[in-house]
Symmetry: C3
Subunit: 158 residues, 3 copies
């Protein structure tokens, strides 16, 4: 098996665990997929292309991700929707000694308590991943959303 | 390649064949993916979390799955919709000597004869799989749907 | 790793690059995934089943694919939507000395400038792929869409 395929498999598994932590409302373990110093940003395709620094959500450490989860837990006690991420096949753009650059498309559906389903978000993860033995950790994840008018109530991680 | 990755690949292939049998309306081969004694259940996330026994659809043998397909064939002769399953990367939760426990997210779209498309279902498969050489067979599959108000006309397998 | 799994991985990677070229609006590289003499066709499930020759879009060489991209570039200068393909696990139907027959489900979302998201297409790729060392090239790709009433303004490749 090629080294690239090994990393594709590793990233697919990381993503599978990452999205399960969100969709199963097990948010407390979600920060563990990141390195202690990290970058997590949700932005739009337009802002990403124009290299505008501003993101809708921004964190630069695992602690900030934990804070965000705590804030969500305090604020978001009513009316849980359900989210479901479907993640595509990763594209490995480059492999260095320590890190990997990769992009992966994703789609998220939302199901309301009434049963109504809708498309919630689509886009791609633009990642820098730290190689740690046979696993990967997220050093940088830019969540680049296709939509420009992202729900201002956006609360869950993507 | 790790033993886990081998099982991920096996389950991905099983799921690919499983959903193709449904989406290509080749339902007669769908029961073959199960062991003779098996459990197949469609339920909601809420019922699953509260461990309520009742499922929307329930079968405990391959013969019952065949009966279900026959019933669908007799009832459902008019106005075929088209369904399309997109299945995510499996998460292997544990591997025993004979069996594997795994969870896999899925999404199903429905296309009407008029061309109108909609999200039909999303959720996860919660599986116990029997290891048979280099293939897997389904011993238990709980289809846990995100939606609480599942279409009461739900007819196709998920 | 089985020979089939090798080809599944190769086709998954081909599809990942193929859909990224479309979704990133990098259409100029899209024809490179095909052999010089090739078949590319978008059709409906109904036409495909009845083996009707007519497709909505048809090309039988890489040059025709280039021409199509050029036409799109000239015509389609206003109001870009964003598309996102999510591609499922390939099913390898047969492996010959030179070529592989495979089918792969897909789903495409469209996001308007206003942020509104919708399901744009779903269906399956029915492929004949040329084995070229450790890579695959598309000799024939029939894009079989679930919908019968495909958007008459269908412009992007699928």
């Amino acid at each position: 098996m090629s080294a690239t395929q090994v990393h594709i498999n590793e990233l697919s598994q990381l993503n599978a665990r990452y999205v399960a932590s969100i969709d199963e409302d097990n948010l407390e373990i979600w920060p563990r997929f990141f390195t202690e110093q990290c970058l997590y940003k949700i932005t739009t395709a337009e802002n990403y292309q124009k290299q505008r620094p501003a993101g809708l959500i921004y964190a630069d450490s695992r602690n900030m991700l934990h804070d965000r989860v705590n804030a969500l837990r305090e604020a978001n006690i009513y009316e849980r929707h359900r989210y479901r991420h479907i993640v595509g096949t990763p594209l490995i753009n480059s492999v260095g000694e320590r890190t990997i650059q990769a992009e992966t498309p994703f789609l998220v559906t939302r199901t309301m308590r009434t049963g109504e389903m809708s498309l919630f978000a689509s886009g791609k993860y633009v990642d820098q991943l730290l190689i740690q033995g046979s696993e990967l950790a997220i050093e940088k994840r830019q969540v680049v959303c296709d939509s420009i008018a992202i729900d201002t109530l956006l609360a869950i991680p993507l």
